[in-house]
């Protein structure tokens, strides 16, 4: 049996890596490296789950680790990389509202916000330190994912942001054991959404949303989405 304290230490280290991966997704301009980062992030998640299993010994956590590994580390990155190949875009150079540097600074603020918020909310509740830590990381990861979603123009990157948000939620959920059934379905569900998303992407998009909007406007095929 490995010392739980040691395992917890490793988990904390992994948390830091998760944050780093989130930062990388925010700042990278290369689509494939963003995807790789996401894969690593998912893997970290699976690892955390596995470590938790080692601590708690609950079989569901192991199952979860496997599921995460299968879907988020293998399946989804495979899908996305296929699409990336299809649309022949390697880099996402356009940013809306926030450039990478301010985004990073802002994400520090987001982590801080999550920390203060959660410390206030959890005040007086007998919760483990690890749980609290996980919650903070989870919430900040979710918020950072959202940051990616609005600051990137390419839909693929947006999707990665969404997936990263989801990782945050999952991270949060890991610490609330006894949610196995739900998390199971959650992943399946998200996969469905993802599949839908990717099909839409594959059908509809060879460039960013804004650009194809522009094209259609020029062709005057549709009127009426905009008020003017």
């Amino acid at each position: 049996m490995i010392d739980p304290l040691f395992l917890e230490g490793i988990i904390k280290v992994l948390f830091v890596f998760v944050l780093i991966s989130a930062g990388l997704i925010i700042s990278t301009r290369n689509l494939s490296s963003a995807l790789t980062t996401y894969t690593i992030q998912s893997f970290l998640l699976a690892a955390v789950s596995f470590l938790l299993y080692l601590i708690d010994g609950k079989g569901q956590l192991l199952l979860l680790a496997c599921l995460t590994l299968a879907s988020k580390v293998i399946l989804i990155p495979y899908f996305v990389s296929r699409i990336e190949e299809k649309i022949k875009i390697g880099r996402d150079l356009h940013f809306a509202y926030l450039e990478p540097t301010p985004s990073l600074l802002l994400s520090i603020g987001l982590i801080l916000l999550s920390y203060t918020f959660l410390s206030r909310v959890f005040e007086g509740l007998p919760l483990s330190k690890l749980f609290f830590f996980g919650a903070v990381i989870g919430l900040s990861l979710t918020l950072m994912g959202m940051l990616v979603m609005f600051s990137r123009k390419k839909v693929v990157t947006k999707a990665l942001g969404y997936l990263s948000m989801e990782n945050g939620v999952l991270m949060f959920g890991l610490f609330v054991t006894e949610l196995p059934f739900i998390i199971e379905v959650l992943i399946i569900l998200d996969l469905i959404i993802l599949v839908l998303l990717t099909t839409i992407l594959a059908v509809g998009m060879d460039s960013s949303i804004e650009e194809y909007r522009q094209k259609f406007r020029e062709l005057q095929i549709w009127t009426g989405v905009e008020s003017r």
Binding site: Y162, L179, L197, I200, G224, V225, S227, R228
Partner: protein, 516 residues
């Protein structure tokens, strides 16, 4: 129990994939809606509510009532869908190959939302609510146009993104129940019993996060942004978006607020709801003023009404909730009338834009009058029943501050003015023929000076006009007309008569939610 339901429905949906004729597919969808309608009616009458069915289904007055509204709205939309989709296919906007997918998603929407409504488990509710998002996004994306995909993407990104936060809220709630009860649970029934024992801070946090998700589903500002685009792009489906999806969100919020009501964090939750409500109303009414697209106008009006509902919920008195529930029903009836009529006009003019509408009273008089009466109803004018509902919700809101009421009223004026402005501008355009008639009329009734020449000119003018006539009148199928008029008539009837049974039902809901 839930497995049986899903099994039956699965078979039903599989059946739906077999037929080839549109008529049969449509009949199945309508039958599906009616089936749910009848079943919920039966459940309401026969069962001794509240009742638990199996491990995870739970029936009480509230979810049956919402289901009733949902099924009603769905059935009407299903009847309407046939003529509309036919027309879409004629013009090539909808690929006939996609028709099956369309009906599949259409039916699935009702099934998923039904499960979501009846599930006792919050997480189950969450998941099925997410599934409705998927179905709805499919419905939005089904048209060949790419902007539909765009709208669907917006819908998915915003609603799902927000729903993730709702999941965080659920995790909070689960932790909370675990801490308090020793064993984590997400069952409404259990939570409702113990809500007062929970830590108010965490309960509030979980409320806030779930509110983000459910608010996005309901179309509360600033999570409403998907709504105008989806409404404008979706075919007749937007009717169920308003009738079904938005009510689902509101349903979740009502449940969550009912949990919080006992806790000491209730005032904060109320403030959040009221602030969001006022913000929604303000944003929507100001946006409406500039709107030239009919469906977007109606969409913003939905946002505005959600705001009013939030205020009603946030006030937290039984009377306010009573009228909120009533309002949900009427809102669906009226909104569907509006959207159906707008759909008919869209088929006529191939556009939702104000500029393209002309000679409305000549080409589509019924749709025009439905739209006018629907607008009158939606801005809360009597004799339509939104009026008393609005009155009582605002009456209760005055408990917080009469100035709040005044501010809300002023924004409602803006909304009403937007409708008036739109209708005035869209419906008042007449083509030259009518102008000529007017001239002629003036000649006849006015002084009898020199009419000969004028008449000749008129006849030549008319001939020239006949050539340059607009694309002919769109023949509205009865399947489209009947639900429109039916919903309006139902709303009007409720304006004159408030059934006792409805009152008892609403009272029962309020009692069950622990109000009073």
């Amino acid at each position: 129990m839930i497995r049986y339901y899903l099994l039956v429905m699965g078979i039903f949906l599989a059946l739906g994939l077999i037929p080839r004729s549109h008529r049969l597919m449509n009949a199945l969808a309508a039958g599906n809606g009616l089936l749910h309608l009848v079943m919920s009616c039966i459940a309401l009458l026969m069962l001794d509510l509240p009742v638990k069915l199996g491990a995870s289904l739970y029936l009480d007055h509230l979810n049956l009532y919402v289901e009733l509204i949902t099924a009603l709205g769905f059935s009407a939309a299903a009847f309407y869908a046939r003529g509309y989709t036919d027309s879409l296919m004629e013009t090539g906007e909808l690929d006939p190959k996609n028709l099956k997918t369309f009906y599949l998603a259409f039916n699935l929407l009702l099934v998923t939302s039904t499960v979501a409504l009846f599930s006792d488990n919050l997480a189950l509710f969450w998941i099925f609510a997410e599934l409705t998002t998927v179905c709805a996004a499919m419905l939005v994306a089904i048209l060949s146009a790419r902007e539909n995909i765009d709208a669907a993407l917006k819908y998915v990104f915003i609603v799902s993104g927000a729903m993730l936060f709702a999941f965080l809220g659920l995790v909070f709630l689960f932790t909370l129940s675990e801490q308090t009860l020793g064993e984590g649970t997400l069952n409404w029934t259990v939570l409702a019993v113990h809500a007062s024992e929970f830590s108010p801070a965490l309960l509030l946090a979980s409320f806030t996060f779930t509110f983000i998700g459910f608010g996005a589903k309901a179309g509360v500002a600033p999570f409403h942004t998907w709504l105008p685009d989806a409404y404008a792009r979706a075919p007749s489906v937007s009717a169920i978006l308003s009738g079904l999806m938005q009510n689902l969100g509101i349903y979740g919020i009502i449940r969550m607020y009912a949990l919080l009501r006992e806790s000491s964090a209730a005032p904060q939750a109320s403030s959040i709801l009221i602030a969001a409500g006022v913000f929604s109303i303000a944003l929507a009414s100001f946006s409406m003023l500039q709107q030239r697209n009919l469906k977007r106008l109606i969409a913003f009006s939905s946002v505005e009404h959600m705001g009013l509902l939030l205020i009603g919920i946030g006030v937290g008195t039984p009377l306010a909730l009573f009228w909120v529930l009533y309002y949900m029903l009427i809102h669906v009836l009226v909104k569907e009338t509006l959207l159906f009529s707008a759909g008919i006009l869209h088929r006529q003019y191939r556009s939702n834009m104000r500029e393209n509408m002309k000679d409305v009273f000549k080409l589509q008089p019924r749709a025009a009058w439905c739209l006018i009466l629907g607008s009158i109803a939606i801005v809360g004018m009597p004799p339509f029943p939104l009026f008393p509902a609005k009155f009582f919700i605002l009456l209760e809101s005055a408990a917080i501050s009469p100035y709040l009421t005044l501010a809300v009223l002023f924004m409602l004026i803006l909304a009403a003015a937007s409708f008036a402005n739109f209708l005035l501008k869209a419906f008042s355009k007449v083509t030259a023929e009518e102008e000529n008639e007017k001239e002629e009329h003036r000649h006849i009734t006015g002084t009898s000076a020199g009419t000969g020449g004028a008449v000749k000119e008129n006849s030549t003018g008319k001939a020239a006009y006949e050539k340059s006539r607009l694309p002919g009148q769109y023949l509205v199928k009865n399947g489209m007309r009947v639900p429109t008029i039916f919903m309006l008539a139902l709303a009007l009837a409720l304006g004159f008569y408030f059934p006792d049974s409805l009152k008892d039902l609403l009272d029962a809901i309020i009692l069950e939610l622990g109000y009073v």
